[in-house]
Every structure is written in C-alpha cells, then in structure tokens.
C-alpha cells in the first residue's frame, strides 16, 4: 500500500469510534435465561458430552454456589446478577458445516467486517482461524493442512467427540475447577473454545488464531481454551475479541490452559478489544479471565503477549508455573484504559524448578477517568536454585483524573534466586509532544506516536500481522484523551 493511502486509512481509522460495535442479525438457538443445574445439564446435553465431563461441570457448579466473589482487585462494579443472562447462545445451523461454503454467509460477513476474511485467509494469509461466535465455534479454517502434520486444531466440543482421551487427560489440570469464582463458573457452563494439540517434535507450520465475538444480547461468553504442546514442539497462537455496543454489561469469563511439555514452546498472544462502554462508563464487557500456563517439562517455554484495550472491566492475570528445570516464562503486556474503563491485570511467575527464568514487561497507559492496576506475583520456591526474574512495569498517565497503580508481590525462598523489579509512573512527556507538534503532527497523533514508542518493547513481541493492528488500536483507544 502506498504511504499516502495508508495515512488516509490510518486517519480514518483513528476517527472511528468503536468500529466493531455492530450487531449481526442471525437466528440463534438459546438456552433459557438463568443459571441452574438444569442449564448445566442442558449445555452438556446440547454438546453431547461424555458423562465424566457433566459430572465435572456439576461439581464446579455446586462449588461455585459456595464461593465468594474475589474482592481484592481494584475494580468497582455493581454485583453481577448471574440469573439475568443467557448461558448458551448458538447461531442456528442445520448441520455442522463441512467446509466454509456451508457456513451462514451472514456470519462470514461479520467476520469480514472484523477484519478476518476466513476465505481469504484460507488461501492467502496462512493463518488458521477458529472463530467463536457467542458461545460456539463456527468455523475452523485450514484444518486439513494442519492435520497433515498431525496438529489438532478444532473447537473444544469437537475435540471432546474426537479426542476425548486428550481432553480428559489435560482439562482442568492447570486451572482446577475451584481455582476462583470466575474460573469455577466457566468450568460449569463453558460452551466452546479452541483445542490445540501439537504432537512431539512438530513445529506448527502456521500461526493459529481464534476470534471471539459476543453478538447476542444478555449472553455471557464462557470459552475454554486448551493448548498442549507435546515434547519438543512449537506453536504460536493468537486470539482476538470484539463485541457489539450495548448499554448493559456482558460477562466474559474465559479460561485458558496451556501445557508445555519437555522442550516445547507456546507463544500466546491476545488482542483484546471487547466493547469498553461509552464515555460515561455505560455498558461494556466484564472481562474476567483466568489464563495460566504450565511449563511442565524441562526446557519448556511459555510466552504471553497481550494488548488489552477493550472491556469495561478487565480482571486478568496470565501466569506461568515454571515447574520444569530451565523452563522460561514471559509476560509482555500493554494495557490501555480510557474514559471510565477499569483494568486490574498482571501476571504470576511461580518458579519451582531449577534455573527457571522469567521476564515481565508491562506497559500501562491510563487516560480519561480510567483506573489501571498492575498486580503481579513473582515467587521463588525453595528448590528454585539459580532462578532469575526481571520485572519492569511502566505506567503512563494522560490527564489528571486517571489513576495508575502498581502492586507487585515478590517472595523469595531461595538465596541463589535473583529477583529484580522496577517500576515507574510518569506523565506523557511534554517535550516529546512539543517536538512532534512543532513538526506539524496534530496533538492526538502525537500522543499515539509517543504511546506507540512507549509500548514498542511489547508490540515487537506480537506476530507481524497483528502488530500493525495493535498499533492502530493504541491510537483508537486513546482517542479523545487529550485536549
């Protein structure tokens, strides 16, 4: 694309508000409103699930009833009425589509608007996409090509039918059903999500990607992602999320479990752009997500990269359990909050094995009247000989009514373990803005430019195609924050 055309497009996209705020009118198949054991059974039956899973769901549901809501995060919202939501909403389809041609064209159109032309991607981009619409997975592209090398990439309901032994072996082993209230709810009512299995020694030939979208009103989305990288394998996985603009809050309580066996590596990137609510904080998604990776084998590696720009409330701590010796955990994060968004996000690095290493780079940008918190834990277990952690958390403040908070927990029980933590908070530099403006760059663009520079370390970690998108998102999210 010519430079000028690109500029025009960029300016256009900057002036856009939440461009994913449309609703697709599709007939859906819904469960009755509310939550009860019957709903759990209904979901399980709908998905034709094995008995053990239903039992597991029910166990989770019963536990959920007892569990208290987590109160420690620095977020503020009215109590959630769990009965006032639909827990299952699926686009109506006559039969399971065999290929993309059978998928409802309206759905495909939606994805095209979202910037994921499934068809084109199948041919051109070489990115395999699993798209989850409300509660169920609609299409998985590139399946055959992946099958050739033995990679399993499908929706988790499909995996339950076709590879029940794999799912049963790993499901809930990283995030147990009773982990926290939101994960517990997810375990009871999860409707779909992606399942990835990379066989030993295979380097997944393409980036895998999932797109989540909440379309239906009053629905919660509870997807569950399970990725297993068997010995010596590698996979890079990307998820993106959007939702229509609605006045009421919608709940998204997902669980992601990653398992890296010996010598395996998983790279998990997220671009989260759920509807953040309007300027006055009306509407928007509650994004309460539990993500955890388990470096089970020696020399394994799990790397989380996240760009969090959406959601009214974000409550999310992608973590790594570094169990295998010499395993590595990474967390790169950009979180941008504007208007009245609230984000409480961070990571946990739990070093258990010898010579384990972790690195945390977190960049937070708060603007408007938003509140943002980095909350992280680095724990060096007593057996973590020679473990190493480096943490850097920087916050940028734009406007005098926003807040930025840093709450790191550092616990070390091993003297040979080395922990370093650094954090800074400051305002966007006047000098840098002045420099840009002097050269004729409008203030808003100058802010986007400076912020992009501030985030560069993290943006670099994203797969190429998405780095560009993320950069644009940074601009859009901050729109209206200056002047």
């Amino acid at each position: 694309m010519a430079a000028t055309a690109e500029t025009v497009e960029k300016v256009q996209s900057l002036s856009e508000r939440y461009k994913y705020g449309f609703v697709t009118d599709i007939e859906t198949d819904m469960a009755p409103k509310g939550l009860s054991e019957d709903i759990v059974r209904f979901i399980s039956a709908k998905k034709n699930e094995p008995e053990w899973l239903l039992e597991w769901r029910l166990k989770a549901y019963r536990h959920w009833l007892e569990m208290p809501e987590p109160q420690w995060a620095k977020v503020d919202f009215p109590e959630i009425d769990y009965q006032d939501a639909y827990y299952y909403a699926a686009p109506k389809m006559k039969d399971q589509p065999k290929s993309l041609d059978e998928v409802d064209p309206k759905l495909l159109e939606t994805y095209e608007k979202l910037g994921i032309p499934l068809r084109e991607q199948e041919i051109l981009a070489g990115v395999a996409v699993d798209a989850v619409f409300d509660s169920v997975s609609v299409a998985t592209t590139f399946k055959h090509k992946l099958e050739e090398v033995g990679v399993i990439f499908c929706s988790i309901s499909e995996a339950l039918q076709e590879h029940p032994e794999l799912v049963r072996k790993y499901l809930g082993t990283v995030v147990p059903y009773a982990d926290n209230k939101h994960a517990c709810l997810n375990s009871a009512v999860f409707t779909d999500g992606s399942f990835v299995y990379i066989p030993p020694g295979v380097r997944c030939p393409m980036e895998l990607s999932t797109y989540f979208r909440i379309n239906e009103q009053n629905t919660g989305q509870f997807e569950r992602t399970l990725i297993i990288a068997d010995e010596g394998s590698y996979v890079s996985y990307l998820e993106g999320c959007t939702a229509p603009m609605r006045d009421e809050n919608q709940l998204h309580a997902a669980v992601v479990e990653l398992i890296a066996l010996k010598d395996a590596e998983i790279k998990y990137s997220t671009v989260q752009n759920w509807y953040p609510g309007d300027e006055d904080g009306k509407g928007g998604i509650y994004n309460f997500v539990t993500k955890r990776g388990d470096c089970r084998g020696d020399y394994s590696k799990i790397s989380w990269t996240q760009v969090e720009t959406g959601s009214a409330i974000t409550w999310k701590y992608p973590s790594c359990l570094l169990r295998g010796d010499h395993s590595v955990g990474e967390f790169y994060s950009i979180a941008i909050t504007n208007n009245r968004q609230q984000a409480d996000t961070g990571t946990k690095m739990v070093h258990l094995g010898r010579n384990t290493k972790s690195r945390i780079i977190s960049k937070g940008i708060s603007a408007g009247r938003s509140q943002q918190t980095y909350r992280g834990l680095v724990r060096m277990g007593s057996k973590a000989e020679g473990a190493r952690n480096y943490t850097q958390c920087d916050s940028l403040l734009i406007g005098e009514s926003c807040g930025a908070h840093t709450v790191p927990y550092i616990e070390s029980k091993n003297r040979s373990a080395q922990v370093e933590h650094e954090a800074t908070t400051s305002r966007i530099s006047e000098d840098q803005l002045f420099y840009c403006r002097q050269r004729g760059i409008p203030e808003e663009d100058a802010v986007a430019l400076v912020v992009n520079g501030f985030c560069r370390e993290v943006l670099q970690q994203l797969p190429m195609e998405f780095a560009v998108e993320a950069q644009k998102l940074v601009g859009i999210s901050l729109e209206g924050s200056v002047g």
Binding site: S382, P408, I410, E411, T424, T425
Partner: protein, 432 residues
C-alpha cells in the same frame, strides 16, 4: 473472617487489673472506647492484606501480666555516651527519673514523660484504627513528650531508651511517644529499644509525630531487643508545608517485629525519608510496612531499605506510595534490596504505587538474591579468602544505606553493629 490466633481476652483482663493504677486524666473514657474497639477488631490475621506475611504465632503463647513497678536496674546502657543529650529512660514501659538525664532545655522546648502532660487531651490522637494502636491507647502507662515551640532549635539530640526486662513471662508494655514540632523548629530524636531476659514479652509502641511548617526532624530508631520479644511499633507522621521528616530505622533484634509507619505529606514542599536496614538471623521475623501519602503539590519522598537475612530469618517489606488527586509535581522513590545469606532465609517484598495524579515522577524497585558471584570471584582472585570476601561485600552493601542515617555520629556505631552481626551470622552459618 478467620479467627485470630491470639485472643483479646487476656488483654482486657490486663486492663481491668491496671485500671486503678493508670494515670488519671481526661483520657479514661477514651481508654475504654479504645479497648472496646480493640476487642471488636481482634488481633490481625494473615487474611488481612496488610498482615499477609506476618502471623502472630509466638504472641499467642503470651499471657499478659500486670506490672505496675518496673524491675530494678542500676544503669541503662547509653548510646552516644560521650555526647551531651537529653536522655529519658523507660524500663518496662515506666519512666525512670533516676536513670534519666534531661539536661538543660532551651527556651521553648518541652521534653518530659507523658504522664506529666496528660491534661492535654489533644496529645493522644483519636483516630487510632489498628488493633495494636488501640491496645496501646487503652493500656499505655507512660511515654515521652517532645514539644518544641515555634523557632526552637534543639542542639542536643533527645535519646529515648526503652529497656525491656523479661525475667518473668508476660510483660506487656505499651509506651507512647508524642513529638510536636512547631514552625521552623528542629530536633533530633533517637530511640533505642533493648532488653534483658529470655522470657516472652510484648513491646507495643505507638508514636505520633507532627511537624508544622518548616520544621525538621531527624528520627533514628535502633531496635536490638532480645530474641523472645514481640516488638510492634506503629508510627503516624504528619508533615506540614516545607517541613522535613528524615527517619532511619535499624532492626536487629526481637523474635518478631513489625514497624508500621504512615506518613502524610500534607503541605506543599513537604518531604520525608524512610530509610533503614534490617539484619536478621536465627528464626527472626522482621516486618516493615509503610505508607506514604502525598497529599499536596511538590512533595517528595524517599524510602531506601536494605537488609540481609541469615539462618531461617524472614524479612517482610511492604511499602506503599499513594499520590492523592491533585498532588501534582510529586516525586516518590522507593527501593528495597535484600541479601539472602542462607538457604532457609526468606524475603517477601511488596512495593506498591497508587497514583491518582498525572504530573508525577514515581518509581520503585526491589531486588532479592545472594552476593554477586562476579564480585566474589574478583576478590578471591586477588587472594582474599572467601569468608573475608563475603564479609567485605556485605559490608559494602550495607555501608551504602548506613550513609543515609541522618545522625552522623551514629553511623560508626551502626557500622560496628552491622559488622558484629555479620561475624556472628557467618559463624552460625559455618556451624550449621
């Protein structure tokens, strides 16, 4: 909420027994209220965020006994013995005039045991909220008052020596310290907490410090209590416009200690430093918890805490900088560094920033680990034996922070004590 490990009832009983002997004052009513509130709250548990890392396990074994007469003591050890100073000595919470030497006080300075000033109700602040502070409010028998009128400069330091004698179990003392500095006045206050005896005892100090416009206070606390002592200190400081509060804390003693400091920078240009060090060995547990509120523009804070942990010691650092809305041009820096000298030592560090204003510069850092292997190799390559090389590096690590002690005359003493501690710790390490 989980039930506390420690029951409040014995303390209520202690209050009953003490009530008749407590100094009579308009405070009697407040004591009762504080006790009631304390019983309602109960002792903190690890379920409370601010007490997450500190359990009151050993305190559970203590049955507080009533003492109205302190055991005899001929002489109290003196810090800076050769220096002229205003000295007050307390033994088991009670003021001992014969051991003290107030010296000559300049015009405008009032330094006395608190019991002599209890008619002034404002001296005991109302808004105690923590369980230990409330308990102190109910049970305090004596303490010190240091008040300077506007423009008074105190040349000599005030040295407060708190001696705990724990020959019989059950000492439960609650001294109180009140420091009020008027406009543009200056003072240096040194607290020394030490003791004798091997029985379980509780020292529960509450200090309240108030600095008016332009006042300056250098405040050093040296805590070297015995291994069975449970030492709790709660300090609340308000710093007025252009006033400076420089404090330095050294934690060497007590089986379990907790220093909780809350500083509020209330006026434009106010600044504070909360520096210090902790050197813990054996099964010691040392907790340093601080909150610095920046409530006005152009306020500055610095907190540099370095410590070394040997044996099975556990260190806890919880520091929090809060920048309130409107406190623009704030500069807040916090650093916590810990050396782990043994395999069983543990550090839990939680440096926190809470920022509600945008034109600020705030930073914090934390590190934990052992001595730098390269530096050690460098020294050994030059023929310095390993033990000596290690000692050198630890000394260098601590020398940095000791330099921050605002009372220069004390630095040598602190370096000495650090050196002795280190020698002992490495000796034990070698024996283990």
């Amino acid at each position: 909420m989980a039930k506390s490990l420690v029951s409040t009832e014995p303390y209520a009983a202690q209050f009953e027994a003490l009530q008749a002997t407590l100094p009579d004052s308009p405070l009697a009513e407040r004591r009762l209220q504080a006790l009631a509130r304390f019983r309602e709250l109960g002792f903190p548990t690890t379920r409370q965020e601010s007490w997450k890392y500190t359990a009151l396990r050993s305190l559970a074994g203590l049955t507080p006994a009533t003492t109205t007469e302190a055991p005899s003591l001929d002489r109290a050890p003196a810090l800076l013995a050769d220096t002229a100073a205003h000295r007050l000595v307390f033994v088991n919470g009670l003021f001992r005039a014969e051991l003290s030497d107030l010296g000559e006080l300049p015009q405008g300075a009032f330094i006395a045991p608190l019991t002599e000033a209890l008619d002034d109700e404002t001296l005991i602040s109302d808004d105690e909220s923590g369980a230990f502070a409330l308990l102190n409010q109910a049970l305090f028998q004596d303490g010190a008052l240091i008040a300077l009128e506007r423009g008074t400069l105190l040349d000599q330091p005030v040295i407060l020596t708190f001696v705990s004698i724990d020959e019989a179990e059950g000492r439960s003392t609650h001294p109180r310290l009140v420091i009020r500095l008027g406009e543009n006045s200056q003072a240096t206050v040194i607290e020394h907490h030490l003791g004798y005896g091997e029985a379980l005892g509780l020292s529960n100090l509450v200090s309240s410090v108030h600095l008016a416009t332009g006042a300056k206070l250098d405040h050093v606390v040296l805590q070297t209590e015995e291994a069975q002592v449970q030492h709790i200190a709660t300090r609340r400081v308000t710093v007025g416009r252009d006033a400076t509060y420089d404090s330095f804390g050294v934690t060497l003693g007590a089986g379990m200690s907790r220093n909780e400091i809350e500083v509020s920078l209330e006026g434009t240009g106010a600044s504070c430093a909360l520096d210090g060090t902790y050197l813990l060995a054996g099964t010691q547990h040392g907790d340093l918890t601080s909150t610095i509120h920046h409530r006005a523009e152009h306020t500055t804070s610095r907190e540099t805490v370095k410590g070394a942990l040997a044996g099975k010691a556990r260190g806890v650092f919880q520091g929090k900088i809060v920048v309130e809305p409107g406190a623009q041009k704030t500069d807040g820096r916090m650093m916590n560094k810990t050396l782990l000298l043994s395999d069983k030592a543990e550090i839990d560090s939680k440096p926190e920033l809470e920022i509600f204003a945008d034109d600020v510069q705030c930073a914090h850092g934390a590190t934990a680990g052992e001595l730098d292997a390269n530096a050690l190799f460098y020294l050994r390559a030059r023929g310095i034996p390993e033990g000596r090389a290690r000692a050198l590096l630890v000394e260098a690590f601590l020398a940095d922070v000791i330099e921050l002690c605002p009372v220069e005359a004390l630095r040598e003493e602190l370096r000495d004590r650090a050196g002795r501690w280190l020698a002992e710790a490495s000796h034990e390490e070698a024996a283990a």
